[in-house]
Every structure is written in C-alpha cells, then in structure tokens.
C-alpha cells in the first residue's frame, strides 16, 4: 500500500504541476510557443498513458460485474462510486478532481472520503499482477473485437479514400493514429487523401501541434499550401510560408495580393506597404525590392499623368485629337509609359512627371532602352529633327557626330517599321558601318538609292546590272544605276 501511496503522491505532484502550467498560459491558446507545445505534448502524452491504463484495466462498459467486484475487493470502496472512464478523457475534469480531493482531505478523515485518485493505481496494480492473466487475455480479446467493430486501420481508411468508398476520419482520435493516416496517405501519393487528412488534422488538433507535425512532412506542407492557394486563404498561406522561412515566396504572395487591388490608388498603397513589410528588410530580395519599388513609382507617375491627360483630351487638346489615345496609360508597362511620354510629352522639362528623361533617370533605364523607345515614338511622329538630336553626340571641341548606341542598322529597322520616307531612311542607311551589311539591309528595305551607291562603292558592276534590271523604270534608283553603269570613272571589279 505504501507504494501505492507514493504513486498517488506522484500523481498529485503531477496534477499540481499541471495546474501551475495552466496559470502560466492558456491551454487552448493558439500562441503557445514550440517549447511550450513540446512540454504540453509531453504532458498530454502522460495524460494519454494515464487514460490508456485506465481504459485497459477497467472496462466499465463491457464488464460491469467483474471489474466492480474486483475493485471493491481490493479497495473496500463499494460499486456505488460513480466513475466512468469518460470522465477522465479531458483535462479539465481531472484537474477538478484534485481540487475536490484537497477539500476532502482537509475536511474529513473518514475512509469513505477516500478520493478516486487513490483507487486508480490499485486498478493498475491488479491488472499488472500475473494472477489475473486470464482475465487480461479475456479483456484484450474483447478490446480487439471492439476495435474491429469500431474502426478500420489507417491503411484501410486510406484505401477507401483512394477507391472513392465512404470513409470516416472521426473515429481516429489519438494524434498518433491521425499522423499514421497522414503518413500512409503520403506513402501512396494520393493528393486528395493527403489534403483530406491534413484538413482533418487542422480541425482536430491545435495549431502549434499541427504546424509542428506538418513541418516534419514536406509533402504535407506542399499540399496544405496548395489547398490554401486554391482556397484564396492568403492570410494563412502567408503565415505558413513565414513559419517555414520561405520569405521569398511569402513576399511574392503579398505582392500578388497587392497588385490585385482593383483601383490604382489602392494598388499604390498596397505596393508601398508590401514593399516595406516584406521586401526591404530581406537581403536576399534586394533585387526584387528594387523592382517592386519601381512598380510603385511607375504607378505614382501614371496616376497624375492619366489624370491631366484625360482632362486635356476631354478639353480637346489638338495633340490628342490628332493622335487619339487608344487606352488609358494606367497599369501599362514602363516601356509603354516611356513611349507614351515620348509621344505626347517628348519636349517636357525634366522636372515634370511626364518627362521621358526623368523616367529614364528614375528607373535607371539603359541608353539602349531609352533610344530605342524614343526613336520609335519620334519616328512615328515624323519628328526627323528630333531623331537627329537623339542620335547626335557632342564630340571633342564642340563638334558633333552621329552616334547610335543601338547601331544604325537598328535605327533603320525602326524607321522602316514606322514607314519613314525613303530620304530619311537612306540618310541613316548610309551611316551603317560595313558595306556588305549596308547593302544587305538596304536591299531588305528596298532602298534602291543606297543599294546602287553601295554596289558602286563595292565596284560590283555585275550585281549592279542585275539589280538595275529589276528596278522600276523612271525611278531615281534606276537613273542612278544607269548613270553609274555609264560612268567611266568607276573602276569595276573584275
């Protein structure tokens, strides 16, 4: 009996401890830290052991007669004690037990006041005693039968899920069984089963445990994330990604949400907020941070431009009447915006939002990007002098020369595309380095004058003759070709 006492004392110590725990934090609080969770898990384990022992030894539902007599024989407490295993199933009632026990101890000393805790260890000791081996076997047999009737194994359940047969997850109450379910589902690679079990877990165990177990199973994590995505549950999705330290994904998610804002003003604010919260402080996302910053800056530029220009268009500004705006500039890509500004606001001062040069500067556009776009716009506007300015660089001592960062072949390509007059096209064709290249490109754009010139330069009389034969009669190119062919000053290649 003394050993029993000690056991019960231990028990009591344990309960005291658990009460201390309770005063520290709320059991059901979602914000329980991992350490706490582990501690909790341990104590939960203890509890389950306790529970299991109890259920193992005294099966009140199945064996009312034998167990009652058994208990009364040993402890002297009559069967009147109303005690069912179910009352121990949750934490709270057990804690209350210890309370009542204290009171009973202090108030009474009679044997009838012996609290239930005193009896429980004695049950354990009976069952572990070898005398009742047969009874134990009987009990185990019954338990097995009951288990068979009640539920299927995790394997069976997963099989049913995969085959599309009816199943029930609710019969799995212990965390271990639930995790077995999950592991089995992962093992057979059925996403539907995996997701179903995960959602069941989420519903039935507290978040800290759920997260802990999920983190141990990357496949499960992926399915959970996939589910959250399909569920548009972005809040939880962001949290989980954050928990997993997948900062980049989390940041991109937030960005995605930010850009889904329907109105531009909301989007600007959302972008700024998202930039501050998720990008700026992540060294790995420095580049992305820069891009998001640019996105926000772009919207902040487009907003007032659109505002002014739509008004100006409504008031009948001749520029917009001549070239009506097809769509609003809002939400257009940066290069399109640059083109727009080059087109409608090409001459604006740099301190204005509409200045193409200001855009170039703010977004650190390369010269190539800038020239290409500006050139296209000016060519479309037929601002030939403008193009000349764009391609003129200041040389030494105030001299000027024609320079193109994108190469004059590309300049010609753009001019051709925007249907520049032959005269202008020829001018720039002549600036292409390399006579063979120039010849090819001139041929491609059917710029006969330059072709003839180049062929003459190459002193290729045969080619010139062939080319001349294809030229339409009376054209300038044909005349030039004929002049050249007639000329005696040219030393033709042999």
């Amino acid at each position: 009996m003394s050993s029993l006492r000690r056991e019960s004392q231990d028990e009591e110590e344990y309960w005291m401890k658990s009460r201390v725990n309770k005063s520290k934090f709320n059991l059901f609080d979602d914000n329980v830290t991992v350490e706490n969770a582990e501690e909790l898990a341990k104590s939960k384990k203890l509890l389950t052991q306790f529970e299991d022992d109890d259920v193992d030894t005294v099966n009140w539902d199945d064996t009312p007669v034998s167990s009652v007599t058994e208990s009364s024989a040993i402890s002297g407490v009559t069967g009147r004690v109303s005690f069912t295993p179910s009352s121990l199933e949750s934490v709270t009632p057990t804690v209350q037990y210890s309370k009542s026990q204290e009171k009973l101890h202090s108030l009474t000393s009679s044997s009838s006041a012996r609290s239930l805790e005193d009896e429980i260890p004695s049950f354990i000791s009976t069952s572990s005693g070898s005398k009742n081996l047969e009874e134990e076997i009987q009990y185990l047999k019954r338990a097995l039968k009951k288990a068979r009737e009640l539920k299927f194994s995790p394997e069976d359940t997963i099989r049913k899920m995969i085959l599309g047969e009816p199943y029930s997850l609710e019969v799995f109450r212990s965390k271990e069984e639930k995790l077995q379910l999950l592991d089995k589902a992962i093992q057979v690679h059925d996403g539907n089963a995996i997701t179903a079990v995960i959602l069941f877990l989420r519903q039935t165990i507290k978040p800290s445990l759920f997260n802990l177990e999920l983190q141990r199973r990357p496949v499960a994590i992926n399915h959970y994330l996939s589910y959250l995505r399909a569920h548009y549950d972005f809040k939880e999705l962001g949290d989980v990604l954050g928990m997993l330290n997948r900062t980049e994904e989390a940041a991109i998610l937030k960005y995605k949400q930010a850009i889904s804002a329907p109105d531009v003003r909301g989007k600007m604010n959302a972008l700024r907020g998202c930039l501050k919260a998720h990008f700026i402080h992540e060294p790995d996302l420095a580049h992305e941070a820069n891009l998001v910053e640019q996105h926000a800056a772009l919207l902040e530029r487009q907003w007032p431009i659109e505002d002014t220009d739509s008004k100006s268009e409504a008031q009948g500004n001749p520029l917009f009447r001549q070239f009506p705006r097809k769509v609003s500039i809002l939400n257009m890509p940066l290069i399109t915006t640059l083109y727009y500004c080059c087109f409608y606001h090409g001459r604006d001062a740099e301190n204005l939002l509409t200045s193409p040069f200001a855009i170039k500067k703010q977004h650190q556009l390369s010269d190539k990007q800038y020239v290409w776009t500006a050139l296209s716009a000016r060519s479309r506007l037929k601002q030939w002098t403008g193009i000349e300015e764009l391609l003129t660089a200041k040389g030494w001592f105030g001299s000027t020369k024609k320079v193109s960062v994108i190469g004059f072949d590309k300049v010609c390509e753009i001019l051709h595309r925007t249907s520049a007059p032959e005269e202008i096209l020829s001018k720039y064709l002549r600036m292409i380095d390399g006579s063979e290249r120039r010849l090819n490109i001139a041929r491609k754009y059917k710029c006969h004058e330059v072709v003839v010139e180049t062929l003459v330069y190459l002193r290729d009389r045969h080619e010139l003759q062939v080319y001349a034969s294809k030229l339409p009669p009376g054209s300038l190119g044909l005349r030039n070709a004929q002049d050249a062919l007639r000329s005696s000053t040219i030393k033709w290649k042999t």
Binding site: G164, T195, A230, H231, P333
Partner: protein, 952 residues
C-alpha cells in the same frame, strides 16, 4: 479478346464506348427532362465521347457552358453539372443553388465530377449548406483517345499542380487511367519510370491494381511496356519552336482535343471551318509528321492530282459512268478538295506569320542556345526583343532556354534581363519569374558556382541544378545535337529532323535508350543527370521475357509477327508536344516499335508557359478582376474549418455563452418536477445572502422584499468604496437586478463604473457575461414602469421574469409575513433563510406535487422562462390507486407507496440550502426526495464560474 486492331495498335475505341456507356447511365440516374451545365474545358473532350443527339435522347433539354461569374441560372426543374473538381466551381454552383432557393424555386441538382470527387470540393458544398440539395457522382473520364495512337487526359493543369505546387492530387488520375487501360488491354509487363512523378504513379498504380502473382500470359496482352516520363526531366524540348506540320498547326492555331478551327483567313470563306485532325483524314495523315519545308510541295502536288481526278468527269463516256461518278467519286473529291484547301490555307498563314516575325533570326538564336554557342549574341538578341516589346511569350521562351541550357543565368545577366523584361512587359511578371524559379526553369547561377556544382543547396534544388548544369553533358552523352548539318528533312534518318536536325528531343532519346538497352542498366552516366531518378519493374517471368510466346493459341497467329513486346506505351506526365509524338512515331517506324502516346495534355511552348505564368499575357487585366471576385469566397470558406471547432468548444465551455443559456432553458423543458432552473439564479444568491443578512445589518432583506431600494444601492456603493470582497458585492448587485427587473440605467452605469474602478476593469467581461445570462441587466429606458414591448422574444421572456420576481414572491408567498419563525422547530421551508425567503425552486416542487401537475398554476408558470411540460407514462387507472399487483414480501414497501418517492433533478446545480429545504419538505409532507444535480454550487462558485478572472 478484342476486335483486331489497326496495324497492331490496341483498339482504343473501346475506351470511348466505355466512357459513353458510363456517361449515359449517369444521365439516366436523373430521369426526365434536365439541363446539362458543362465545364468549359470538358466541352471538347465530351464532344469526342457523346454526341448532342445522344444527350437529347437521354432527356437533356438545354446545354449550358458553365460560367462561374453567373450568380444564378435559369432552366428546367432538373439540372446536371458536369465539372472538374475545383473549389471555385463548387462555390459558384452553391451560389446558383442558393439563389434558386431564395426565390423558392425547387430544382433537382446533380453534380458529376470528372474524373473524381475531391474532399475539398465536398467540403465547400457542405460549408455553403447545399449538400442536401445535390446528388454527387463521378464520371471517370480519363483517357480521351485523340487518335489511334494518342491518348490524352486533357488535364493541362497537371503541370502546374505537380511541378510548381508539388500537389499530388492528379497522380491518382494518372494511375487510375493506367489501371483502367490495363483492365482492357491486359497488364503491362515492363514498367520504366523516369522522374519523380513517374515513380509515384507506378507506386499508386501497384497499390490500386493488386497484381495477380499467379502466372500470367503477358504475350496475350496488348501492350508490352510502359514508359512513364516526367515533364520536369525535359523542359527544353517543349520550349523549342516546333517545325513539323502538326506542331506548327498547334502553335499557330491551337489544336484543341484533336480538333482545329480555321478562321476565314484560312478557309477563304465567310465562315470558319472546324476540322478533326486524325489519321482518318488521309491528306493530313500524309503531312502531319513532315517537316514544314516538305509540306507545301506535297500539298500542291496533291492538289494537282485531285484536279486530274476531277477532270476525269470530262472523259466520262456513258450516262452510267456519269451517274456513278456523281454518286461516289464526286462527293469524295469535293470533300478532299475542301480539306486540301484548308490545309493549303493554313500553310500560307503559317508561312506569313513566320516570315513577318523575324522567325529566322529567332530560330537561329534558339539553335545556338541549344548548342551552347554565341552566348553574348544570344543575350543581345533577347535584349533587343525586349526593347522592341516584342511578343512576351516568345522572349520568355528564349530566356527559359538560356537558363536551361546554361545551368542558370549568371547573376548579372539574370538581373538585367529580368529587370528589362519587367520594364517592357509589366512588373506583374515578377510573379512569373518567381514561378519559373520554383520550377527550376529560369534560375540565377549561384555566385561562385559557375565553374562547379553548387554544394550547399537543398536536395531538390540540388538535383535540379545538377541537371541543368549538365544539359550540355546530356547532349554530348546522348548525342542530341547531330554533328552533320546535312540532315535530309525529306527522308529523315534521325529523330532530330523534327527540329530541322538541330536537336533530338531528350525525352524521345531517353525512350529509345531504355528500349534498346531493355532497362536502365549501363545508363548510369545519363540517369544521374535526370532529376527524380529512374526506376524499373519487370512483372514478366524471366523465361518468357525475350522468347516468343509459347502458349499462343491458333487464331492468334496474326499477332505473332508483331509480338506484344514491341507495343510500347509512353506516358508523358505534364504534357507532351506534337513534335515529340512525331519523333516517337518516326522512331517506331525506324526500329519496328508500335508507340502509343499517353499524356496528361498536349502542350506547346506557349500553353506550357502560360499555364505557369501568373497572369496570361494580354488578358491579365480581365483576369485580375475575376480573381478579386473570389476573395470573399475565400474568407467565407475559410472559417469552414476553424469556425466549426470553435463553436464546438464553446458549447462545451457552457455557461458563459448565450448558447449555454439555451441549453439550460432546454433542460428546463424536460424536467417538470425539478422546477425551472432560472429560479436558481435568485436562490443561489440568496443562499449566501441570508448569512450576509446577519452580518450586514439586514440590508439584504430589503432587496428581497423590494423595499428600501435607495438604501440598498447606497449600501452596495459603500461596499464598493471599501473595496470589500468583490464576490460579495457582486452578489448584491446580482440580487438587485434580479429582484428589480434589471437595474435602472443610471444606477446600473454608476454601479458598474464604480465596481470596475474598485475591482479592476477586467470585470467588464464579467458584466457582459452576467448580462448574457440575464442576471445583471440594465432596464430599458421607459420600461421601468411596465413590460417592455419591442424586444426580441427571448429577451422578452427574461425581462418578464425579472420584472415579476415580486409577483412570484407574492403569488407563491415566498416571503413569509410573520417575522417570528421558529428556527429551532421550523414549520416552513423558509427557515433555511432565517424565515426571510422560501426558495422559489423548492416552492415550485411543492406546488407541482401538491397539485399533481401544472394545472391551475398558469398564473405562476407564465412567469417561468422556457415554460413547463409534463408527461404521464402511467396508465390512468393505476395512477392514483395503490398498486394492485403487489406481491407478497413487498409489504414493507406498501406503507411507502412508490408515488411518494420523488427525484428532483437540478440542471445547472443546486445549493445545500435547497437540499435542506427539500428534505424538510419531504419530512413535512411525507415525500421521499432524492436530489440529483449537475453540481452542488454556492453563490461564490456560481459567480466564479461565469467570471472572467477568479477573484484573488
């Protein structure tokens, strides 16, 4: 077994027939007229299975295309939804149903999931509360036979789902399709898996199949081997520009489920033409696998010969011949002519598009990327496309190829290309780059890893990196890039002809290798570069493996020249391109194999990239709005899971929340004899209050009697000023409110404020709880005099009760008139409270027993919330008479008839005082009371249980 198949191909028409039968029986499950609402992406596959006339025949009235943006739909009384299992779809269907119910339109709904129902979908239906109105079934449509050698699941989302999100939901569909196929064609003896998903499919397939271990004659089965290939093993091939006719048709016009639609620009007529592209079209069959350079010439020669056939009609001699020609030949020729015209028109379109867009330069760049040469020029070319804001998909393809062939892009180039891409095509594409990074398609080289393999990366990333760093090694080891430039595109000798001889598709080359070597042995040098590894299984007994089948029975001789081992099913997970199909067909012809190609979907570079791009280009504006619409859905659906469990918990916690109050009231119903629980509120406080009376100079009696209100309030305030025991004070406040029909607003506010100031503002919660319980309430302004009229029913009842505590006292004479109660020899239950008050609950018990029910108690019971109820299970004759059947030996009982034993059950607890009072009552009136209760309480425990923080 089956009808003799075409040229050794297994007959897949059976699959169609099976699917058709399954579908018709599903339609028949809802007899009568019904509407059919079909998911857009199932339209084309269903078209291949069932005709409109069949549907009409089965009672389908109207056919709608499912539109998730519609909040409601019209139609007849029965409706069938045929949909893919998606949560958003479920939400939309639920909206339809709910809007019908809102206008009281009764309709029967059936949802048929293709190919299976998912847990998440059912959850949404359940959550939206429509599960009761729908019947749910599955239509296991997996393979849609597109041609004699092509089977497709038509599941383009597989790629994104498995490789981007690592979601294995569709693995089941792939495995199931194989199980069903093998049920028809016999088990497949050899299985080779290349990649991660392939292995998973194989595992799940084995799990589902329960292989028959007994000897099987595999030679009689129709398919010898199965090769499963993951798309992520080879992303390069689908990104290359297709150059075969069929591939170009797909890239230019888009082939959907084996059909193509030519617009007026191709047909040259007003209307567009729909064409079924398969081997039944003789002209198409001739050109589909050709390199494009070799198509137009063939078509024009065909046109000439057709013209000659036409011209025959001039040479017709007799009228009979003429008649014959018109009846047979003419129709065929006319059909051929129109088909030919369409193909020629299509060729013209393709040519036109390709020459306009600078296709040659593009192709050159692509090929030099594959070769790994001229890196600088290639990057320049890509940049130029960006300056020009050229087609965003085209540009992205090159960026992908650059990264895939070069083991990622060097950090500097990566940043600059990405930045410029976003600047040209919108910053939204940041998301696309993030997706491509996750897929391992566009990656940034680790700094310092350009020379060697990166070491410190996660396992999966590691494998991916290794693979890509070694695209060139794979090219070399498998000689994917042919050495000679002079490939005869007309009479090809090598699979690489599908890409103009520039590149042999990696996936097809792997298939060739596996078949040639009979497995992966000796391929270690190659397989080590493949992510996800390889796996092979052999279910055929070794003895039968390579020998010709011995058991062949007579009549099967036709098969002998094409042994089953030559029939190979190649299954692409994540989709395959027409070029790959063509390459395999060519390989089959070359090596004598019969290839059957199965795939989750037929893809091309554009559809593949679009499926993983966040916003499909151009339309992204619209899509964005579509997405927003679903956000509330998300929010709603989210609480689906968390909400449930919370509600559950709250009922357990009981007492605190209104739900608990409901429980209590409910219990009141079922307990006619125990008195209504609500009176407890009063009594429990009383119990303690009596003792206080002695201590606190009798102030409390005033409360019960309803006298000296001002004094009482003053007394309470005094206690508060003193910061006297908070429970004690609270009890008085409770009593004040209960006896006075709530506290007048002014007093209530002042008492509450003072209480909070004295005992902590946390007690605000307690007041809120007490208000919910109806213990401490504030009187409605203007209702002090009479009964409040405009309150909700339950609140009404509560008010009524409290407003009439005094009435109850009067009617039941709870407050004894005389002050001289002999506490030593009591004559009345009120002695438990020093004769100041008789417990209402006990009084009710007494009344019920005396009257034998509630008759005549209407004046009293009307004040009791929750009402009363009684049931009599004893037959009337036996009720009041003494038991007749009493046997001998039971005489001891006769002087205490059973009707005198009364069980009083207190729901929500009772006090010792009540027990004592009942004991006294029993002694007085000869009853034997047994008291049952949920718990024994006193004023402190009762209040503590509903207080937020127990007092210190």
């Amino acid at each position: 077994m089956a009808a003799p198949s075409v040229k050794g191909f297994p007959d897949f028409q059976r699959l169609k027939i099976l699917a058709k039968d399954e579908f018709t029986s599903l339609l028949d499950q809802m007899p009568g007229r019904k509407d059919l609402v079909i998911d857009g992406e199932l339209m084309k596959p269903l078209d291949r299975i069932a005709s409109v006339s069949l549907l009409k025949q089965r009672g389908v009235d109207k056919i709608f295309k499912f539109d998730s943006s519609l909040k409601s739909m019209h139609g007849c009384e029965q409706r069938i939804y045929l949909v893919r299992p998606r949560m958003t779809t479920m939400k939309a269907i639920a909206d339809h149903i709910n809007s019908d119910r809102n206008i009281n339109f009764k309709r029967k709904y059936s949802i048929i999931f293709v190919p299976r129902k998912l847990h998440t979908c059912l959850s949404v239906l359940e959550y939206e509360g429509v599960m009761g109105y729908v019947t749910v079934s599955e239509f296991q449509l997996d393979f849609v036979p597109l041609d004699k050698d092509v089977l497709s699941l038509e599941l383009p989302e597989f790629l994104k789902s498995l490789y981007l999100e690592n979601d294995q939901t569709w693995i089941h569909t792939v495995a199931k399709s194989l199980v069903r196929l093998q049920a028809l064609s016999g088990e497949i003896g050899h299985v080779y898996c290349i990649g991660r998903g392939a292995k998973m499919v194989n595992d799940l397939m084995n799990f589902l199949m329960k292989r028959n271990s007994s000897e099987q004659d595999f030679s009689r089965h129709e398919i010898g081997s199965l090769i499963l290939i993951d798309r992520d093993v080879d992303y390069v091939t689908p990104l290359c520009s297709q150059l075969t006719y069929e591939g170009l048709l797909d890239e230019t016009f888009g082939i959907k489920c084996g059909t193509i639609e030519f617009g007026p620009e191709v047909t040259g007529k007003q209307q567009s033409a729909k064409l079924l592209l398969n081997s039944d079209d003789a002209i198409f069959e001739d050109v589909r696998n050709r390199h494009f350079s070799n198509v137009l010439g063939y078509l024009s020669s065909k046109a000439k010969s057709l013209q000659q056939d036409f011209d025959k009609r001039h040479g017709l001699k007799s009228v009979g011949d003429m008649k014959d020609f018109v009846a047979n030949e003419l129709r065929r020729l006319k059909e051929q002519k129109s088909v030919l015209a369409n193909h020629i028109g299509a060729c013209e379109q393709i040519l036109g598009k390709k020459t306009k867009g600078g296709f040659e330069d593009y192709l050159q760049t692509e090929h030099s990327l594959l070769e790994g040469s001229g890196l600088r020029e290639n990057v320049n070319f890509i940049e130029e496309l960006l300056f020009k804001q050229d087609n965003m998909l085209k540009t992205l393809k090159l960026i992908c190829l650059l990264s895939l062939t070069q083991n990622g892009i060097s950090p500097q180039t990566y940043k600059s290309l990405k930045t410029q891409y976003l600047q040209s095509h919108g910053f939204e594409q940041l998301v696309t780059f993030s997706n491509l990074k996750s897929l391992g398609i566009v990656t940034e080289q680790e700094t310092g890893s350009q020379a060697g393999t990166p070491l410190n990366k996660v396992a999966s990333g590691m494998a991916a990196m290794t693979r890509r760093s070694t695209f060139q090694s794979l090219c070399k080891k498998l000689s994917l890039i042919p050495k000679s430039d002079d490939i005869d595109l007309k009479n090809p000798t090598d699979m690489s002809y599908v890409f103009s001889g520039a590149y042999t598709p990696l996936s097809c080359k792997l298939v060739e290798q596996v078949l040639t070597r009979g497995g992966f042995t000796g391929m270690e040098e190659i397989t080590k570069y493949l992510p996800g590894g390889v796996h092979s299984e052999n279910h055929v007994k070794a003895s039968k493996d390579h020998s010709t089948p011995l058991k062949d029975k007579s009549g099967k001789s036709a098969r002998q020249d094409r042994p089953v081992s030559k029939v190979v099913l190649v299954y692409f997970l994540g989709g395959c391109t027409y070029s790959e199909i063509t390459a395999l067909r060519f390989l089959g012809k070359l090596k004598g194999y019969i290839f059957v190609i199965a795939t989750t979907a037929i893809i091309n570079s554009s559809t593949m990239l679009e499926s993983v791009m966040e916003k499909p280009p151009i339309y992204y504006e619209n899509n964005r709005f579509a997405e927003i619409e679903f956000v509330p859905v998300a929010i709603k659906a989210r609480s689906l899971f968390s909400g449930n469990s919370f509600a559950h918990r709250s009922t357990e916690c009981s007492l605190i929340l209104p739900g608990a109050g409901m429980n209590l009231r409910h219990r009141g119903h079922g307990n006619p004899r125990g008195g209504s629980h609500l009176t407890h509120d009063v009594i429990m406080c009383l119990d303690r209050q009596v003792r206080q009376k002695e201590w606190e100079h009798g102030k409390l009696t005033g409360l019960l009697e309803g006298s000296g209100l001002g004094d009482n309030v003053n007394f309470i305030e005094e206690l508060i000023f003193k910061q006297d025991n908070m429970l004690k004070t609270l009890k008085l406040i409770c009593l004040l409110s209960l006896t006075q029909n709530g506290i007048s607003p002014q007093t209530y506010k002042s008492l509450k404020t003072q209480y909070l100031q004295s005992h902590g503002f946390e007690q605000l919660v307690t007041f809120s709880n007490l208000k919910s319980l109806g213990i401490v309430t504030e009187q409605e302004t203007g209702s002090q005099a009479g009964t409040p009229l405009n309150k909700v029913a339950s609140g009404m009842a509560a008010m009524t009760r409290r407003s009439t505590f005094q009435s109850l006292c009067k009617k039941l004479s709870l407050i004894p008139k005389s002050d001289d109660i002999d506490l030593k020899n009591p004559t009345d239950m009120s002695y438990v409270f020093s004769g100041a008050y008789t417990p209402l609950s006990c009084k009710l018990v007494e009344q019920v027993l005396t009257r034998g029910g509630f008759t005549g108690m209407e004046e009293i019971t009307k004040y009791l919330p929750g009402g009363v109820h009684s049931e009599n299970h004893v037959k009337a004759s036996k009720d009041h008479s003494t038991p007749l059947k009493d046997k001998s030996g039971k005489s001891a009982r006769q002087d205490r008839p059973v009707s005198k034993v009364v069980l009083v059950y207190f729901l929500g607890g009772c006090t010792y005082s009540e027990i004592t009072a009942l004991r006294f009552l029993g002694k007085l009136k000869g009853y034997i009371f047994v008291i049952a209760t949920t718990a024994i309480i006193n004023s402190s425990t009762m209040l503590e249980s509903v207080m937020e923080k127990p007092p210190i």
